[in-house]
Each structure stands twice: as structure tokens, then as C-alpha cells.
């Protein structure tokens, strides 16, 4: 904290920017590359349970959030929302297995592209 106190405003901005870039790079590097079969499996689960509200292949959502805009660095939030539910989103944790939810994340995070 003392560092910020002695810095000017410009330096502070730079520090925050550098920090965010670092966080982003860290999240990206920590992410496993998704396997094509995982993405395919995720797309099947998506079509069965998610497409009705979030739109076929994530396009034209019916009132639910646009998953094409879901931040790619918020995997944990995605997993929590799917398994425990959030607002009008019901919980799926008792219906979908953890590897199925992981596969959904693979599908959403890659935009369905292998």
C-alpha cells in the first residue's frame, strides 16, 4: 500500500493496468487447452438443457444472458452459476455431473470452436 502512496496518479494507473494484464495472462496460462471431444460433449449438453433460454449455439438468447459475452477469465463464476443457480438461472448441480459442467465451460469458453 505504501507503494501507491508515494506514486503519482499516472504511475498508479500504470500499476493497475500492469496488474490486470498480469491477472489476465495468469488466467489464460492456467487454463488447460480444451479437447475437441470435451467441446463437442459440452455442445450436446448445451443443446439439451441451455439452448432454450440462452439460444441455439449461444445465438439469439431468449431472455437469458448472452454467453458469447461471458468473461473467459471467470471460469469459477461460470461453474458456480451453473451448479448452484443465479437469479432466474436454476441450479443444475444435482442433474449434471462435474465433468459435464466442465465440458459446458469448454463449449462456452471456446465459443463452440474446436
Amino acid at each position: 500500500m505504501g507503494f501507491f502512496v508515494v506514486c503519482g496518479v499516472t504511475d498508479l494507473k500504470k500499476t493497475i493496468l500492469a496488474g490486470s494484464l498480469f491477472a489476465f495472462a495468469h488466467a489464460a496460462s492456467a487454463q488447460e487447452p480444451f479437447k475437441p471431444e470435451q467441446i463437442r460433449s459440452g455442445s450436446e449438453t448445451y443443446a439439451r438443457h441451455c439452448a432454450a433460454c440462452h439460444g441455439p449455439r449461444m445465438a439469439n438468447p431468449e431472455g437469458a444472458s448472452d454467453l458469447r459475452k461471458f468473461p473467459r477469465d471467470q471460469r469459477e463464476r461460470f461453474l458456480a452459476s451453473v451448479s448452484k443457480g443465479k437469479n432466474a438461472m436454476p441450479p443444475w448441480g444435482d442433474l449434471l455431473k462435474p465433468d459435464e459442467i466442465d465440458a459446458l465451460w469448454a463449449y462456452v469458453a471456446t465459443g463452440g470452436k474446436n
Binding site: R48, G63, N87, P90
Partner: protein, 558 residues
């Protein structure tokens, strides 16, 4: 002794004053006291018309909010409140609330608790469209497929029954109704392979009396319209909008939803009685007649929209009719004594059927429909959400016109090659459906005043910014009340279609306004709270925030 008798009589009278009766139900919206609103639709006929004229075209400029009360609900408000003896009863998916009409203060609230996973089987939005009142009790359904009776004075639960298993896709979003002493509820779940029904209960005890299934089973006439096997058990035909009732004919009229699965290729045949109106006896559930709006339904054209009853002139003769604006884009008038078709005309752009043939009473499907059924991807009008959805219309018996909100959208629709596999409580569709891009400048829909026999508009008000998902209320004051998803509660001149008054409420309006009197003053009440259906959220794109509240209006003194 005389004093004691007097006390007993007073107590009995007191109890009577709080125990609304069958006689009052029969007269609601039908010459009864305008202090009360006792039925879904403001009368068993569901005309949503009031003879009140205190608030009129000339006085509406003095219409102001007199109170508002939060409903602490972010899921949306679609309900129609009821009013009895100065108490307003209203419900949403989370609770029932009783409010003092004079002050807007809460008298009691009772929570409707349900497991969050229930939301998986409520296809199109967590909602509750209202309560029923009878003999000192408030009746309410909940999305986990339970029906409750609450004490009207305290909100305390008197009884509760499970009507079906939500884990198998069954839920309740509609208001119950009491007719001929029987409490009835519909259900929803047409996207989950349910078998639709209306249930009858003893309002005093909650004892189950009968079940009127809406897909014809073995041994029933109509079963021949289903393929051999058990497709009828997953055939849909849910009953998610409250039926209307003709006490003289002793017939209840209830609409039924799309088929299950959505793709009709899984269930060759007309599939009675999906996408239909069924007329049955409230005492027994015995079917008397049916009319199918969309045979072999495969478009998600639910036939649930309200059935409005009136006696109107047809070719110089007064007829007992039933009027219905279907999701499929046609406005129907039937003879409600026997279900015979009198008229059917398109009220929005329709491309799946050329017309409804009056001789056969069936739609004549177009090439678009044939290509769709053959597996091609096609553009369908109206979109699956319909030319009109659940938001109810009003009928003014003086003008003879119907007032409602129309939707103009196009879907891109294809039946999947592979038939869907049924799993209890999971989507059972077999269709891929998206929305076609809008043409620049094309209205989302209209408010309109239509002739029931021709569907010709007296006026149409284009809705260019957003469509409307709000019900209508017509009054003898020459006004029609409705709402906008952006929150404006509006009064429309019934002659011209001009909006003559509006007030911006806290959230979007997709509910059902009512009007009534209290101590000689006319009130108008509407719920505000975007949601309850998915479309309003899609269309408003985050520009309107949810949050439920009740708004009550009256004239400011001169």
C-alpha cells in the same frame, strides 16, 4: 337471551361479510357490486370490462397514483389482483399479499417456498397470475405444482395439496378458479413431455374430486388421433391459463397448450385435445365438446389464450359465443353451446395457413407449413410466441370490440431429424427455433380494437419501440387501460386508439389491470415488474430493471 342472540347474529353476519359466496362469484362483472373483483378476468366471462365511468376521457387528466407497495420480487409480475370488502389480494411466484385498498398498507403476506431447481421445469419464466377467492379462503398455485388454501383474514395455510410432481415437469403458473362450488387449477409443462390436465378439488378440504386429462387416452373418443402406443402420456396439452365459465350452460372453457414434444413428427395425427379449447362440467370434469385451433400442432402454438364469453349479434341473431385470439394468428368466434365455428380470421401476418375453412373448421396449411413438416428450415409467421400470447384481451359489450396487444415477429424454425428422447423433467422439444431479423421500421406489434367476427380493426396503434406483454381493461368511461414494458401505465381512447394519459411505474408492466370502487371512489390497480416471461427480457435488452410493486390510481379531487 335476546342480547345473546343478537351477538350470535352479529358474529354470523360478521363472518358472512368476510366469506365471499357463490352468488357473489356469479354476479362478479355481471351486475354485482363494483366494490369487488372476485374472478380472474373480472367475471366468469373474462371480459375484463367495467361499467364504471368516474374515470373517463374527460376526467382522466386528474388520474394520479394514490399508493404503491413493493412486492419484493425480481421474477416479474403477471398477476391480476382480486378485491373483496376493501382488501386487495395479489400473488407472484414468491408470495401472496393482502393489502388494505384504502391505505395501501399490507395486512398479511404468505410466502410460497419452492426449491430453486423448480425453475428448470418452468419453461418461460417464473410466474404466478393470481389467486381465487371463495368462502373465506384465498386459493393459490405454486410453481412446484402445489395448490394451497389460505385463510383470507390471516393468510395462514388451511390446506395444501401436491397436484403433480415438479420433477416430472409439472408446475402451476395460472390462477385457480371456483365454479359451481368446485376449485379448479390448470398446470404447465408442455416443454417437458407432460400429460396436460385440469384438476377439480373441494375448496373446503382440498380433497381431489376429478382430473380432466387433455390428451385422449385409450377408450376415450379422440385417442384415435394419437399414434398407437403411449405418445399421449407425454403429449403436452398443458392448461396454463385459467378457464372461463358459463353458469347457465354450466360449462367451463379451458385452453390447452402445444403438443409434446414440439415436433409433431413424433406423434402423427391431430392429437386431440392439444392446442384446443375444451368445454366440460365443473362438477365432474366430463367433456362436453372441444374445438382444436391447430390440428397436428408443431409450431408451439399453444391454444391457452383466454376464451372470452359474450352474447353478440351474428347475422342479425344474438348468439352465445366464445371469442379467442390464438397464438396461431387467427381470431376465432365459436358458438359456445356446441363448439361450432362461426368465424376465424387472421389478425396479424400469418404464413403457415391460408385460412380457416369454415366448412371443415380446419386450417388450410400453406406450402410453408408443408415444407416445415417435411423437415426444411423455414420462416414462420407468427413466431412461436404467437400473434398474441397470454396477455389477456378485453371486450366492451357496448362497442362490441375486442382490445388487445398483437405481436408481429417471424421465427426461423426447423424440426430436427432425430426425434427427442424423453427424460422426466427435461426439455422434450425436437425443434430448433430462432428469431428472424426484424425489418427496419417494422413495428413490434400493435395495440388494437378489433371486430370479433372479421378481425378488422377500428384502430391499430403501432408499437415501434417495443411490443407489449400487458393485458387490457376496458371501461364504460371510454378508456382502455394497458401497460408498456418500459413501465408506462397507459389509458387509451377506445374510439381513436390515442394514448390520452400515462404514468411511469417502477418497472415494466406485463400484468393485468383491474378497476373497482371503494367508498364511492373508482380505483385502478396494476402490477409493475418486468418478467414472468422470457420475451420481455429479450426485447428490453437490460434497459428495464425488474422489481415488483402494486400501483393504485384514482382521480385527484377537482
Amino acid at each position: 337471551m335476546r342480547k345473546l342472540l343478537g351477538t350470535i347474529l352479529l358474529a354470523a353476519f360478521g363472518a358472512l361479510a368476510h366469506a365471499q359466496t357463490q352468488q357473489e362469484l356469479l354476479r362478479d362483472g355481471n351486475g354485482g357490486s363494483t366494490d369487488n373483483v372476485l374472478t380472474y378476468g373480472m367475471g366468469y366471462h373474462q371480459q375484463r370490462y367495467s361499467p364504471l365511468r368516474q374515470i373517463s376521457k374527460s376526467t382522466v387528466k386528474r388520474l394520479v397514483p394514490v399508493w404503491s407497495a413493493s412486492l419484493a420480487n425480481e421474477f416479474g409480475e403477471q398477476g391480476q389482483p382480486l378485491v373483496y370488502n376493501g382488501v386487495l389480494y395479489t400473488a407472484n411466484v414468491k408470495r401472496v399479499v393482502a393489502i388494505d385498498v384504502a391505505t395501501g398498507r399490507q395486512l398479511w403476506t404468505t410466502a410460497l417456498e419452492w426449491e430453486p431447481a423448480v425453475a428448470r421445469v418452468v419453461c418461460c419464466g417464473l410466474s404466478n397470475r393470481g389467486v381465487a377467492l371463495y368462502n373465506g379462503k384465498v386459493f393459490v398455485g405454486s410453481v412446484d405444482a402445489h395448490l394451497r388454501a389460505l385463510d383470507a383474514n390471516t393468510g395462514k395455510e388451511v390446506w395444501k395439496v401436491k397436484i403433480a410432481e415438479w420433477k416430472e415437469g409439472y408446475s402451476i403458473t395460472s390462477a385457480p378458479t371456483v365454479a359451481n362450488g368446485v376449485l379448479m387449477t390448470g398446470m404447465t409443462g408442455g416443454e417437458y413431455g407432460v400429460r396436460g390436465f385440469v384438476d377439480g378439488y373441494d375448496p373446503d378440504t382440498g380433497k381431489h374430486l376429478w382430473r380432466r386429462h387433455t390428451t385422449a387416452g385409450p377408450g376415450e373418443k379422440g385417442n384415435e388421433t394419437w399414434p398407437a402406443g403411449d405418445a399421449y402420456l407425454r403429449g403436452g396439452g398443458s392448461t396454463w391459463i385459467t378457464g372461463s365459465y358459463d353458469p347457465e350452460l354450466d360449462l367451463v372453457y379451458w385452453g390447452t397448450s402445444n403438443g409434446g414434444p414440439w415436433t409433431a413428427t413424433a406423434r402423427p395425427g391431430d392429437n386431440l385435445w392439444i392446442s384446443s379449447v375444451i368445454a366440460f362440467r365443473p362438477k365432474t370434469g366430463e367433456m362436453v365438446w372441444h374445438y382444436q385451433w391447430t390440428p397436428a400442432e408443431t409450431y408451439d402454438f399453444d391454444g391457452n389464450n383466454e376464451n372470452v364469453l359474450a352474447d353478440i349479434m351474428v347475422g342479425g341473431v344474438k348468439r352465445k359465443v366464445l371469442m379467442h385470439a390464438d397464438r396461431n394468428g387467427f381470431l376465432y368466434t365459436l358458438d359456445r353451446t356446441n363448439g361450432k365455428l362461426i368465424a376465424a380470421n387472421p389478425y396479424v401476418n400469418v404464413n403457415w395457413a391460408e385460412r380457416i375453412d369454415l366448412a371443415t373448421a380446419r386450417p388450410v396449411e400453406t406450402e410453408v407449413a408443408k415444407r416445415l413438416r417435411a423437415g426444411e428450415k423455414v420462416e414462420v409467421r407468427p413466431r412461436w410466441t404467437g400473434g398474441k400470447n397470454w396477455m389477456p384481451m378485453a371486450f366492451n359489450p357496448d362497442t362490441g370490440r375486442l382490445y388487445f396487444a398483437m405481436l408481429e415477429e417471424t421465427s426461423v424454425y426447423q424440426l430436427n431429424k432425430e426425434l427427442p428422447v424423453y427424460k422426466a423433467g427435461e426439455r422434450y422439444m425436437g425443434v430448433e427455433n430462432t428469431t428472424a431479423p426484424r425489418k427496419p421500421g417494422e413495428p413490434w406489434g400493435y395495440f388494437g380494437a378489433l371486430d370479433p367476427l372479421t378481425a378488422k380493426p377500428k384502430w391499430k396503434l403501432p408499437l415501434t419501440d417495443l411490443p407489449s406483454w400487458s393485458g387490457m381493461l376496458a371501461t364504460a368511461g371510454g378508456l382502455v387501460f394497458s401497460g408498456r414494458p418500459t413501465g408506462e401505465f397507459v389509458a387509451i381512447d377506445e374510439d381513436t386508439g390515442n394514448i390520452v394519459w400515462q404514468f411511469k411505474t417502477g418497472s415494466g408492466i406485463n400484468a393485468q389491470p383491474i378497476t373497482y370502487t371503494h367508498k364511492g371512489r373508482q380505483y385502478v390497480t396494476v402490477l409493475s415488474g418486468l418478467g414472468g416471461g422470457t420475451s420481455a427480457k429479450r426485447e428490453t435488452e437490460g434497459k428495464v430493471l425488474p422489481g415488483g410493486s402494486v400501483w393504485t390510481f384514482a382521480l385527484m379531487p377537482e
